[in-house]
Protein backbone atom coordinates (compact mmCIF):
# COMPACT_ATOMS: atom_id res chain seq x y z
CA UNK A 1 0.00 0.00 0.00
CA UNK A 2 2.90 2.37 0.49
CA UNK A 3 3.87 4.26 -2.60
CA UNK A 4 7.27 2.66 -2.35
CA UNK A 5 6.21 -0.89 -3.04
CA UNK A 6 6.15 -1.24 -6.76
CA UNK A 7 7.53 -4.47 -8.07
CA UNK A 8 10.29 -3.78 -10.54
CA UNK A 9 10.17 -7.28 -11.91
CA UNK A 10 6.46 -7.52 -12.45
CA UNK A 11 5.62 -8.16 -16.10
CA UNK A 12 4.94 -4.93 -17.88
CA UNK A 13 3.36 -4.44 -21.25
CA UNK A 14 5.77 -3.77 -24.06
CA UNK A 15 5.32 -0.56 -26.00
CA UNK A 16 3.41 2.32 -24.63
CA UNK A 17 0.09 2.43 -26.24
CA UNK A 18 -2.39 5.20 -25.70
CA UNK A 19 -3.10 5.59 -22.00
CA UNK A 20 -3.06 1.97 -21.00
CA UNK A 21 -0.03 1.97 -18.76
CA UNK A 22 0.30 5.37 -17.25
CA UNK A 23 -2.63 7.59 -17.99
CA UNK A 24 -2.18 11.22 -18.98
CA UNK A 25 -2.44 12.78 -22.43
CA UNK A 26 -2.36 10.38 -25.40
CA UNK A 27 1.20 9.42 -26.16
CA UNK A 28 1.04 9.84 -29.86
CA UNK A 29 0.18 13.49 -29.43
CA UNK A 30 3.30 15.67 -29.38
CA UNK A 31 2.61 18.57 -27.05
CA UNK A 32 5.70 20.55 -27.91
CA UNK A 33 4.75 23.78 -29.57
CA UNK A 34 8.12 24.87 -30.82
CA UNK A 35 9.55 23.72 -34.11
CA UNK A 36 11.24 20.71 -32.59
CA UNK A 37 11.68 19.01 -35.98
CA UNK A 38 13.95 21.68 -37.39
CA UNK A 39 17.07 20.45 -35.67
CA UNK A 40 16.82 16.78 -36.65
CA UNK A 41 15.89 17.83 -40.15
CA UNK A 42 18.85 20.18 -40.43
CA UNK A 43 21.23 17.53 -39.12
CA UNK A 44 19.77 14.94 -41.43
CA UNK A 45 20.22 17.26 -44.35
CA UNK A 46 23.77 18.12 -43.39
CA UNK A 47 24.89 14.56 -42.87
CA UNK A 48 23.07 13.34 -45.92
CA UNK A 49 24.69 15.99 -48.07
CA UNK A 50 28.06 14.92 -46.77
CA UNK A 51 27.37 11.27 -47.51
CA UNK A 52 26.43 12.13 -51.05
CA UNK A 53 29.51 14.24 -51.53
CA UNK A 54 31.80 11.71 -49.88
CA UNK A 55 30.49 8.91 -52.06
CA UNK A 56 31.22 10.92 -55.15
CA UNK A 57 34.61 11.97 -53.89
CA UNK A 58 35.61 8.46 -52.86
CA UNK A 59 34.54 6.84 -56.08
CA UNK A 60 36.02 9.60 -58.24
CA UNK A 61 39.48 8.05 -58.07
CA UNK A 62 41.09 10.90 -59.91
CA UNK A 63 42.15 14.50 -59.47
CA UNK A 64 42.79 13.99 -55.79
CA UNK A 65 46.29 15.29 -56.08
CA UNK A 66 47.25 18.64 -57.54
CA UNK A 67 50.82 17.75 -58.38
CA UNK A 68 49.91 18.01 -62.03
CA UNK A 69 49.66 21.80 -61.61
CA UNK A 70 52.67 22.19 -59.35
CA UNK A 71 50.92 22.04 -56.05
CA UNK A 72 51.61 19.46 -53.36
CA UNK A 73 47.96 19.27 -52.35
CA UNK A 74 46.64 15.81 -51.58
CA UNK A 75 42.94 15.39 -50.89
CA UNK A 76 42.32 14.20 -47.34
CA UNK A 77 40.04 11.52 -48.77
CA UNK A 78 43.07 9.98 -50.40
CA UNK A 79 45.69 10.53 -47.76
CA UNK A 80 48.03 8.86 -47.10
CA UNK A 81 48.96 8.42 -50.68
CA UNK A 82 48.78 4.68 -51.21
CA UNK A 83 49.24 4.46 -54.91
CA UNK A 84 52.16 5.95 -56.74
CA UNK A 85 49.98 8.54 -58.34
CA UNK A 86 51.23 11.39 -56.18
CA UNK A 87 54.92 10.89 -56.62
CA UNK A 88 55.97 14.00 -58.47
CA UNK A 89 57.55 15.22 -55.27
CA UNK A 90 58.39 11.71 -54.30
CA UNK A 91 56.43 10.99 -51.21
CA UNK A 92 54.05 8.17 -51.97
CA UNK A 93 53.64 6.08 -48.83
CA UNK A 94 53.50 2.81 -50.65
CA UNK A 95 52.94 1.39 -54.04
CA UNK A 96 49.57 -0.24 -54.22
CA UNK A 97 49.58 -0.47 -57.95
CA UNK A 98 47.81 -3.84 -57.67
CA UNK A 99 44.81 -2.13 -56.08
CA UNK A 100 42.14 -1.66 -58.65
CA UNK A 101 39.49 0.25 -56.72
CA UNK A 102 39.64 3.81 -55.48
CA UNK A 103 42.36 4.15 -52.84
CA UNK A 104 39.91 6.27 -50.87
CA UNK A 105 38.01 3.15 -49.85
CA UNK A 106 40.60 1.46 -47.62
CA UNK A 107 41.55 4.87 -46.26
CA UNK A 108 38.11 6.10 -45.42
CA UNK A 109 37.28 3.05 -43.33
CA UNK A 110 39.31 4.59 -40.52
CA UNK A 111 37.86 8.09 -40.30
CA UNK A 112 34.46 6.62 -41.06
CA UNK A 113 34.55 4.19 -38.17
CA UNK A 114 35.93 6.94 -35.97
CA UNK A 115 33.13 9.30 -36.79
CA UNK A 116 30.44 6.64 -36.80
CA UNK A 117 31.34 5.61 -33.28
CA UNK A 118 31.93 9.18 -32.09
CA UNK A 119 29.65 10.03 -29.19
CA UNK A 120 28.51 13.20 -30.86
CA UNK A 121 27.73 11.65 -34.24
CA UNK A 122 25.98 8.81 -32.49
CA UNK A 123 23.70 11.32 -30.88
CA UNK A 124 23.03 13.08 -34.12
CA UNK A 125 22.26 10.04 -36.26
CA UNK A 126 20.30 8.26 -33.56
CA UNK A 127 18.18 11.36 -33.45
CA UNK A 128 17.88 12.42 -37.05
CA UNK A 129 18.17 9.12 -38.95
CA UNK A 130 16.91 6.53 -36.52
CA UNK A 131 14.46 8.91 -34.79
CA UNK A 132 15.22 7.48 -31.42
CA UNK A 133 14.20 9.99 -30.24
CA UNK A 134 13.72 12.58 -32.99
CA UNK A 135 13.77 15.29 -30.37
CA UNK A 136 13.33 15.52 -26.62
CA UNK A 137 9.88 14.63 -25.33
CA UNK A 138 8.92 13.44 -28.81
CA UNK A 139 8.24 9.69 -28.92
CA UNK A 140 10.71 7.29 -30.51
CA UNK A 141 9.59 6.31 -33.97
CA UNK A 142 7.34 3.29 -33.71
CA UNK A 143 7.27 3.23 -29.94
CA UNK A 144 3.62 4.06 -29.59
CA UNK A 145 2.63 0.87 -31.36
CA UNK A 146 2.58 -2.00 -28.89
CA UNK A 147 4.00 -5.15 -30.40
CA UNK A 148 5.25 -3.24 -33.41
CA UNK A 149 8.73 -3.87 -34.82
CA UNK A 150 10.16 -0.90 -32.94
CA UNK A 151 8.29 -1.20 -29.68
CA UNK A 152 11.34 -2.77 -28.07
CA UNK A 153 14.52 -0.84 -27.57
CA UNK A 154 17.88 -2.18 -26.46
CA UNK A 155 20.14 0.80 -27.06
CA UNK A 156 23.81 -0.04 -27.19
CA UNK A 157 23.54 -3.26 -25.25
CA UNK A 158 23.41 -5.71 -28.16
CA UNK A 159 25.20 -6.43 -31.40
CA UNK A 160 25.83 -4.45 -33.54
CA UNK A 161 25.54 -1.29 -31.48
CA UNK A 162 27.51 -2.75 -28.61
CA UNK A 163 30.50 -2.32 -30.94
CA UNK A 164 30.31 1.41 -30.28
CA UNK A 165 32.31 0.57 -27.18
CA UNK A 166 35.49 0.16 -29.22
CA UNK A 167 35.44 3.84 -30.06
CA UNK A 168 38.78 4.38 -28.37
CA UNK A 169 40.48 2.03 -30.84
CA UNK A 170 39.15 4.05 -33.72
CA UNK A 171 40.54 7.05 -31.90
CA UNK A 172 44.02 5.56 -31.81
CA UNK A 173 43.89 5.34 -35.59
CA UNK A 174 42.40 8.78 -35.81
CA UNK A 175 45.45 10.18 -34.07
CA UNK A 176 47.63 8.57 -36.71
CA UNK A 177 45.45 10.05 -39.40
CA UNK A 178 45.55 13.45 -37.81
CA UNK A 179 49.33 13.12 -37.95
CA UNK A 180 49.18 12.24 -41.61
CA UNK A 181 46.97 15.18 -42.41
CA UNK A 182 49.37 17.38 -40.50
CA UNK A 183 52.13 16.05 -42.68
CA UNK A 184 50.01 16.88 -45.71
CA UNK A 185 49.53 20.40 -44.45
CA UNK A 186 53.27 20.80 -44.08
CA UNK A 187 53.82 19.23 -47.47
CA UNK A 188 51.47 21.79 -48.93
CA UNK A 189 54.15 24.38 -48.30
CA UNK A 190 56.37 22.61 -50.80
CA UNK A 191 56.42 24.20 -54.18
CA UNK A 192 58.47 23.01 -57.15
CA UNK A 193 60.94 25.84 -56.58
CA UNK A 194 61.16 25.64 -52.80
CA UNK A 195 58.99 26.81 -49.93
CA UNK A 196 55.85 28.73 -50.70
CA UNK A 197 52.30 29.18 -49.75
CA UNK A 198 49.11 29.19 -51.72
CA UNK A 199 45.47 29.44 -50.82
CA UNK A 200 45.42 25.65 -50.81
CA UNK A 201 48.21 25.58 -48.25
CA UNK A 202 46.07 27.68 -45.96
CA UNK A 203 43.14 25.35 -46.49
CA UNK A 204 45.24 22.35 -45.58
CA UNK A 205 46.63 24.00 -42.48
CA UNK A 206 43.15 24.85 -41.31
CA UNK A 207 42.12 21.32 -42.12
CA UNK A 208 44.83 19.85 -39.93
CA UNK A 209 43.96 22.21 -37.07
CA UNK A 210 40.29 21.32 -37.23
CA UNK A 211 41.05 17.63 -37.32
CA UNK A 212 43.21 17.94 -34.25
CA UNK A 213 40.60 20.02 -32.47
CA UNK A 214 38.04 17.37 -33.21
CA UNK A 215 40.25 14.38 -32.45
CA UNK A 216 41.65 15.71 -29.19
CA UNK A 217 38.22 16.77 -27.99
CA UNK A 218 37.06 13.16 -28.22
CA UNK A 219 35.40 11.73 -25.12
CA UNK A 220 37.61 8.66 -25.22
CA UNK A 221 40.62 10.92 -25.33
CA UNK A 222 39.23 12.85 -22.39
CA UNK A 223 38.93 9.60 -20.49
CA UNK A 224 42.35 8.30 -21.42
CA UNK A 225 44.25 11.51 -20.77
CA UNK A 226 43.03 11.82 -17.20
CA UNK A 227 39.27 11.62 -16.93
CA UNK A 228 39.50 7.97 -15.99
CA UNK A 229 41.37 8.78 -12.79
CA UNK A 230 39.67 8.70 -9.43
CA UNK A 231 42.15 11.04 -7.88
CA UNK A 232 43.45 13.93 -9.95
CA UNK A 233 45.61 15.25 -7.15
CA UNK A 234 47.90 12.25 -7.50
CA UNK A 235 48.62 13.10 -11.16
CA UNK A 236 48.68 16.89 -11.45
CA UNK A 237 49.98 16.98 -15.00
CA UNK A 238 47.27 14.71 -16.32
CA UNK A 239 44.73 16.80 -14.50
CA UNK A 240 46.16 19.87 -16.13
CA UNK A 241 45.82 18.39 -19.59
CA UNK A 242 42.37 17.06 -18.83
CA UNK A 243 41.06 20.29 -17.42
CA UNK A 244 42.70 23.00 -19.47
CA UNK A 245 43.04 21.31 -22.76
CA UNK A 246 41.00 18.24 -23.59
CA UNK A 247 37.91 19.21 -21.60
CA UNK A 248 37.95 22.65 -23.17
CA UNK A 249 38.01 21.14 -26.66
CA UNK A 250 35.46 18.57 -25.60
CA UNK A 251 32.98 21.30 -24.70
CA UNK A 252 33.02 22.30 -28.37
CA UNK A 253 33.22 18.80 -29.75
CA UNK A 254 30.00 19.21 -31.70
CA UNK A 255 31.25 22.38 -33.32
CA UNK A 256 34.55 20.82 -34.35
CA UNK A 257 32.79 17.70 -35.56
CA UNK A 258 30.87 19.78 -38.05
CA UNK A 259 33.61 22.20 -38.96
CA UNK A 260 36.13 19.45 -39.59
CA UNK A 261 33.60 17.44 -41.55
CA UNK A 262 32.76 20.35 -43.76
CA UNK A 263 36.37 21.34 -44.17
CA UNK A 264 37.53 17.90 -45.25
CA UNK A 265 35.00 17.94 -48.04
CA UNK A 266 36.00 21.45 -48.89
CA UNK A 267 39.69 20.58 -49.00
CA UNK A 268 38.93 17.67 -51.27
CA UNK A 269 36.79 19.81 -53.50
CA UNK A 270 39.41 22.48 -53.68
CA UNK A 271 42.05 19.94 -54.64
CA UNK A 272 39.78 18.66 -57.35
CA UNK A 273 39.18 22.18 -58.66
CA UNK A 274 42.86 22.97 -58.75
CA UNK A 275 43.90 19.65 -60.18
CA UNK A 276 41.33 19.73 -62.97
CA UNK A 277 42.45 23.24 -63.76
CA UNK A 278 39.01 24.63 -63.10
CA UNK A 279 40.60 27.28 -60.96
CA UNK A 280 44.07 28.53 -60.44
CA UNK A 281 45.43 28.32 -56.91
CA UNK A 282 46.66 31.80 -55.97
CA UNK A 283 50.13 31.79 -54.50
CA UNK A 284 50.88 34.14 -51.58
CA UNK A 285 54.65 33.84 -51.67
Amino acid sequence: MTTLNTEPDAPVPVGIEANKVRGGPPRSEVLRKDKWWIQPLAIFTGLFAFIVYATWAALRNGHFYAGNVGRDYLSPFYSPCLTNSCTNNGYAWSDWSWWRLSPAIPILIFPLSFRLSCYYYRKSYYRSFWLSPPSCAVPDAGSTKAGGPRSKYSGETKFPLILQNIHRYTWYFAVIFAGILTFDAIAAFRFPNGIGMGLGTLIFVVNACLIWAYTLGCHSCRHLCGGGLRKFSASPSRHFVWKNFVSKLNEHHQLFAWLSLFWIAFADFYTWLVSTGAIHDPRFF
Binding site: R22, G23, G24, K33, K123, C136, G155, H223, G228
Partner: protein, 283 residues
Amino acid sequence: MSDTPTQTSTGDTNSQKKVTLKIWRGDAGGGQFVDYTLDYLDGEVVLDVVHRVQSEQAPDLGVRWNCKAGKCGSCSSEINGKPSLMCMTRMSTLDIEKPITVSPMRTFPIIKDLVTDVSFNFEVAKKIPALRPKPREKDGTYRMAQIDIARGQEFRKCIECFLCQNVCHVIRDHEDNKAHFAGPRFLMRIAELEMHPLDTLDRRHYAFDVMGVGYCNITKCCTEVCPEHIHITDNAIIPLKERVVDARFDPVAWLGRTIMRKPKPMSSEEVAKVTPAARQNQT
Protein backbone atom coordinates in the same frame (compact mmCIF):
# COMPACT_ATOMS: atom_id res chain seq x y z
CA MET B 1 -11.47 21.66 -29.35
CA SER B 2 -15.11 22.54 -28.95
CA ASP B 3 -15.62 19.84 -26.37
CA THR B 4 -12.89 21.16 -24.09
CA PRO B 5 -14.40 22.23 -20.80
CA THR B 6 -13.69 25.84 -19.99
CA GLN B 7 -13.68 27.93 -16.88
CA THR B 8 -13.15 31.64 -16.66
CA SER B 9 -12.47 33.71 -13.60
CA THR B 10 -15.51 35.77 -12.90
CA GLY B 11 -15.30 39.42 -11.95
CA ASP B 12 -13.82 42.32 -13.76
CA THR B 13 -13.50 42.05 -17.49
CA ASN B 14 -11.49 45.20 -17.94
CA SER B 15 -8.47 45.59 -20.15
CA GLN B 16 -6.36 43.26 -17.96
CA LYS B 17 -4.36 40.83 -20.05
CA LYS B 18 -5.71 37.29 -19.89
CA VAL B 19 -3.93 34.04 -20.25
CA THR B 20 -5.31 30.56 -20.81
CA LEU B 21 -3.83 27.50 -19.19
CA LYS B 22 -4.73 24.09 -20.54
CA ILE B 23 -4.20 21.85 -17.57
CA TRP B 24 -4.47 18.08 -17.65
CA ARG B 25 -7.14 16.98 -15.21
CA GLY B 26 -7.69 13.34 -14.47
CA ASP B 27 -6.39 10.22 -12.82
CA ALA B 28 -5.46 6.65 -13.71
CA GLY B 29 -8.95 6.15 -15.06
CA GLY B 30 -8.60 8.83 -17.71
CA GLY B 31 -8.70 12.57 -18.08
CA GLN B 32 -8.67 15.56 -20.37
CA PHE B 33 -7.24 19.02 -20.81
CA VAL B 34 -9.31 21.71 -19.14
CA ASP B 35 -8.96 25.37 -20.09
CA TYR B 36 -8.64 27.96 -17.34
CA THR B 37 -8.59 31.60 -18.32
CA LEU B 38 -7.40 34.16 -15.82
CA ASP B 39 -5.64 37.48 -15.43
CA TYR B 40 -2.00 37.70 -16.26
CA LEU B 41 0.14 39.38 -13.66
CA ASP B 42 3.60 40.73 -14.24
CA GLY B 43 6.55 38.66 -13.16
CA GLU B 44 4.69 35.44 -12.50
CA VAL B 45 5.98 31.93 -13.05
CA VAL B 46 3.78 29.08 -14.25
CA LEU B 47 3.45 27.70 -10.74
CA ASP B 48 1.95 31.01 -9.55
CA VAL B 49 -0.68 30.86 -12.22
CA VAL B 50 -1.43 27.23 -11.44
CA HIS B 51 -1.79 28.20 -7.79
CA ARG B 52 -4.19 30.96 -8.71
CA VAL B 53 -6.21 28.47 -10.72
CA GLN B 54 -6.25 26.35 -7.62
CA SER B 55 -7.41 29.04 -5.25
CA GLU B 56 -9.82 30.74 -7.65
CA GLN B 57 -11.27 28.02 -9.84
CA ALA B 58 -10.23 24.48 -9.05
CA PRO B 59 -9.48 23.98 -5.35
CA ASP B 60 -8.91 20.25 -5.81
CA LEU B 61 -6.31 20.62 -8.57
CA GLY B 62 -3.48 18.26 -7.68
CA VAL B 63 0.02 19.71 -7.98
CA ARG B 64 3.28 19.12 -6.13
CA TRP B 65 5.54 21.93 -5.03
CA ASN B 66 7.64 22.91 -2.06
CA CYS B 67 10.24 25.61 -2.38
CA LYS B 68 9.11 27.77 -5.30
CA ALA B 69 12.75 28.52 -5.95
CA GLY B 70 14.02 25.65 -8.06
CA LYS B 71 15.67 23.98 -5.12
CA CYS B 72 13.55 21.00 -4.18
CA GLY B 73 12.56 19.53 -7.54
CA SER B 74 8.92 18.90 -6.66
CA CYS B 75 7.08 20.89 -9.31
CA SER B 76 8.21 18.93 -12.37
CA SER B 77 5.74 18.87 -15.22
CA GLU B 78 5.57 19.41 -18.96
CA ILE B 79 4.88 22.95 -20.08
CA ASN B 80 3.92 23.25 -23.72
CA GLY B 81 5.22 19.72 -24.00
CA LYS B 82 8.65 20.51 -22.58
CA PRO B 83 9.68 18.90 -19.32
CA SER B 84 10.23 21.83 -16.96
CA LEU B 85 9.96 23.04 -13.40
CA MET B 86 6.79 25.07 -13.00
CA CYS B 87 8.40 27.36 -10.46
CA MET B 88 11.29 28.25 -12.73
CA THR B 89 9.36 28.87 -15.93
CA ARG B 90 8.54 32.53 -16.15
CA MET B 91 5.30 33.36 -17.93
CA SER B 92 7.12 36.06 -19.86
CA THR B 93 9.17 33.40 -21.62
CA LEU B 94 6.04 31.78 -23.03
CA ASP B 95 3.74 32.91 -25.78
CA ILE B 96 0.72 33.93 -23.73
CA GLU B 97 -1.33 34.76 -26.78
CA LYS B 98 -1.88 31.03 -27.21
CA PRO B 99 -3.11 28.62 -24.56
CA ILE B 100 -0.31 27.13 -22.50
CA THR B 101 -0.51 23.42 -21.86
CA VAL B 102 0.54 22.07 -18.51
CA SER B 103 0.59 18.30 -18.29
CA PRO B 104 1.99 15.71 -15.90
CA MET B 105 5.30 13.95 -16.51
CA ARG B 106 4.65 11.25 -19.05
CA THR B 107 7.04 8.59 -17.94
CA PHE B 108 5.41 7.95 -14.61
CA PRO B 109 1.91 6.69 -13.91
CA ILE B 110 -0.47 9.48 -13.17
CA ILE B 111 -1.99 9.78 -9.71
CA LYS B 112 -4.08 12.84 -10.20
CA ASP B 113 -3.88 15.92 -12.43
CA LEU B 114 -0.25 17.03 -12.42
CA VAL B 115 0.84 14.56 -9.77
CA THR B 116 2.56 11.38 -10.89
CA ASP B 117 3.75 8.29 -9.09
CA VAL B 118 7.52 8.64 -9.15
CA SER B 119 8.20 5.59 -6.98
CA PHE B 120 10.20 4.04 -9.83
CA ASN B 121 12.99 6.42 -8.90
CA PHE B 122 12.95 5.52 -5.25
CA GLU B 123 13.12 1.85 -6.18
CA VAL B 124 16.15 2.44 -8.38
CA ALA B 125 17.79 4.39 -5.56
CA LYS B 126 17.78 1.18 -3.53
CA LYS B 127 19.94 -0.49 -6.14
CA ILE B 128 22.80 1.95 -5.62
CA PRO B 129 25.84 0.43 -3.91
CA ALA B 130 26.72 3.14 -1.42
CA LEU B 131 30.08 4.78 -0.85
CA ARG B 132 32.61 2.52 0.79
CA PRO B 133 35.29 4.94 1.96
CA LYS B 134 38.83 4.05 2.87
CA PRO B 135 39.87 4.61 6.46
CA ARG B 136 40.33 8.10 7.83
CA GLU B 137 43.72 9.74 8.29
CA LYS B 138 45.45 9.38 11.64
CA ASP B 139 44.14 12.75 12.80
CA GLY B 140 40.60 11.52 12.29
CA THR B 141 39.87 13.58 9.17
CA TYR B 142 39.51 12.78 5.52
CA ARG B 143 41.76 14.68 3.20
CA MET B 144 40.35 15.38 -0.22
CA ALA B 145 41.63 17.94 -2.69
CA GLN B 146 39.13 20.36 -4.16
CA ILE B 147 40.05 19.19 -7.68
CA ASP B 148 39.18 15.63 -6.72
CA ILE B 149 35.68 16.44 -5.57
CA ALA B 150 34.76 19.09 -8.11
CA ARG B 151 33.29 16.52 -10.50
CA GLY B 152 31.21 14.90 -7.80
CA GLN B 153 30.03 18.28 -6.60
CA GLU B 154 28.58 19.05 -10.00
CA PHE B 155 26.50 15.89 -9.85
CA ARG B 156 25.45 16.53 -6.29
CA LYS B 157 23.72 19.71 -7.38
CA CYS B 158 20.95 17.39 -8.51
CA ILE B 159 17.63 18.32 -6.93
CA GLU B 160 15.99 15.03 -7.92
CA CYS B 161 13.30 16.66 -9.97
CA PHE B 162 13.37 13.51 -12.14
CA LEU B 163 12.88 15.56 -15.29
CA CYS B 164 15.82 13.73 -16.82
CA GLN B 165 14.27 10.41 -15.88
CA ASN B 166 11.05 11.63 -17.40
CA VAL B 167 12.50 12.79 -20.69
CA CYS B 168 14.77 9.81 -21.25
CA HIS B 169 13.27 7.91 -24.15
CA VAL B 170 14.70 4.60 -22.93
CA ILE B 171 11.97 4.42 -20.31
CA ARG B 172 9.64 7.15 -21.50
CA ASP B 173 8.88 5.27 -24.67
CA HIS B 174 9.63 1.72 -23.56
CA GLU B 175 8.00 0.81 -20.29
CA ASP B 176 9.65 -2.62 -20.17
CA ASN B 177 13.08 -1.01 -19.89
CA LYS B 178 12.22 0.25 -16.42
CA ALA B 179 13.17 -3.19 -15.15
CA HIS B 180 16.78 -2.90 -16.28
CA PHE B 181 17.60 0.73 -16.88
CA ALA B 182 18.29 3.09 -13.98
CA GLY B 183 17.89 6.35 -15.84
CA PRO B 184 20.26 9.31 -16.14
CA ARG B 185 19.90 10.56 -12.58
CA PHE B 186 21.08 7.26 -11.16
CA LEU B 187 23.74 6.59 -13.77
CA MET B 188 25.07 9.95 -12.71
CA ARG B 189 25.03 8.79 -9.10
CA ILE B 190 27.07 5.74 -10.04
CA ALA B 191 29.48 8.00 -11.91
CA GLU B 192 29.74 10.22 -8.85
CA LEU B 193 30.71 7.28 -6.66
CA GLU B 194 33.15 5.97 -9.26
CA MET B 195 34.86 9.37 -9.22
CA HIS B 196 34.83 9.71 -5.43
CA PRO B 197 38.43 9.98 -4.24
CA LEU B 198 37.81 7.89 -1.11
CA ASP B 199 35.67 5.12 -2.52
CA THR B 200 36.90 1.54 -2.71
CA LEU B 201 34.12 -0.25 -4.58
CA ASP B 202 34.16 -0.87 -8.31
CA ARG B 203 30.74 -0.52 -9.90
CA ARG B 204 31.72 -0.77 -13.57
CA HIS B 205 30.31 -4.17 -14.40
CA TYR B 206 27.36 -3.37 -12.21
CA ALA B 207 26.75 -0.17 -14.15
CA PHE B 208 26.40 -2.20 -17.32
CA ASP B 209 24.70 -5.35 -16.07
CA VAL B 210 22.29 -3.91 -13.54
CA MET B 211 22.02 -0.16 -14.04
CA GLY B 212 21.88 -0.57 -17.80
CA VAL B 213 24.25 2.18 -18.89
CA GLY B 214 24.35 0.50 -22.32
CA TYR B 215 20.75 1.44 -22.97
CA CYS B 216 21.61 5.11 -23.04
CA ASN B 217 22.26 6.18 -26.60
CA ILE B 218 23.68 9.52 -25.48
CA THR B 219 21.04 11.55 -27.23
CA LYS B 220 21.38 14.09 -24.42
CA CYS B 221 17.78 14.95 -23.67
CA CYS B 222 18.54 14.54 -19.97
CA THR B 223 21.14 17.28 -20.25
CA GLU B 224 18.76 19.48 -22.20
CA VAL B 225 16.08 19.48 -19.52
CA CYS B 226 18.17 19.49 -16.35
CA PRO B 227 17.18 22.61 -14.40
CA GLU B 228 20.49 22.54 -12.57
CA HIS B 229 22.32 22.59 -15.90
CA ILE B 230 24.35 19.56 -14.95
CA HIS B 231 26.25 18.11 -17.90
CA ILE B 232 24.74 14.72 -17.25
CA THR B 233 25.74 13.09 -20.51
CA ASP B 234 29.16 14.63 -21.10
CA ASN B 235 30.44 14.59 -17.56
CA ALA B 236 28.72 11.59 -16.04
CA ILE B 237 27.28 9.08 -18.46
CA ILE B 238 29.95 9.12 -21.15
CA PRO B 239 32.79 8.95 -18.60
CA LEU B 240 30.90 6.07 -17.03
CA LYS B 241 30.60 4.34 -20.38
CA GLU B 242 34.33 4.79 -20.87
CA ARG B 243 34.99 3.26 -17.46
CA VAL B 244 32.80 0.33 -18.41
CA VAL B 245 34.87 -0.08 -21.57
CA ASP B 246 38.00 -0.29 -19.41
CA ALA B 247 36.45 -3.05 -17.37
CA ARG B 248 34.85 -5.19 -20.03
CA PHE B 249 35.47 -4.21 -23.63
CA ASP B 250 39.07 -3.11 -23.91
CA PRO B 251 41.45 -6.04 -24.55
CA VAL B 252 44.53 -3.92 -23.97
CA ALA B 253 43.25 -2.79 -20.60
CA TRP B 254 42.59 -6.43 -19.79
CA LEU B 255 46.06 -7.43 -20.87
CA GLY B 256 47.54 -4.62 -18.81
CA ARG B 257 45.68 -5.75 -15.73
CA THR B 258 46.71 -9.34 -16.26
CA ILE B 259 50.38 -8.60 -16.79
CA MET B 260 50.60 -6.09 -13.96
CA ARG B 261 48.61 -8.48 -11.75
CA LYS B 262 46.15 -5.74 -10.94
CA PRO B 263 42.89 -6.79 -9.28
CA LYS B 264 40.08 -7.84 -11.56
CA PRO B 265 37.10 -5.51 -11.89
CA MET B 266 34.43 -6.45 -9.36
CA SER B 267 31.68 -8.58 -10.73
CA SER B 268 28.14 -7.26 -10.70
CA GLU B 269 27.04 -10.06 -8.39
CA GLU B 270 29.64 -9.14 -5.84
CA VAL B 271 28.65 -5.49 -5.93
CA ALA B 272 24.94 -6.23 -5.98
CA LYS B 273 25.26 -7.89 -2.59
CA VAL B 274 25.95 -4.62 -0.84
CA THR B 275 22.93 -2.79 -2.19
CA PRO B 276 19.96 -2.11 0.06
CA ALA B 277 17.71 -3.80 -2.49
CA ALA B 278 19.60 -7.08 -2.09
CA ARG B 279 19.60 -6.86 1.67
CA GLN B 280 15.88 -6.24 1.66
CA ASN B 281 15.26 -9.30 -0.44
CA GLN B 282 17.19 -11.45 1.99
CA THR B 283 15.03 -10.57 4.96
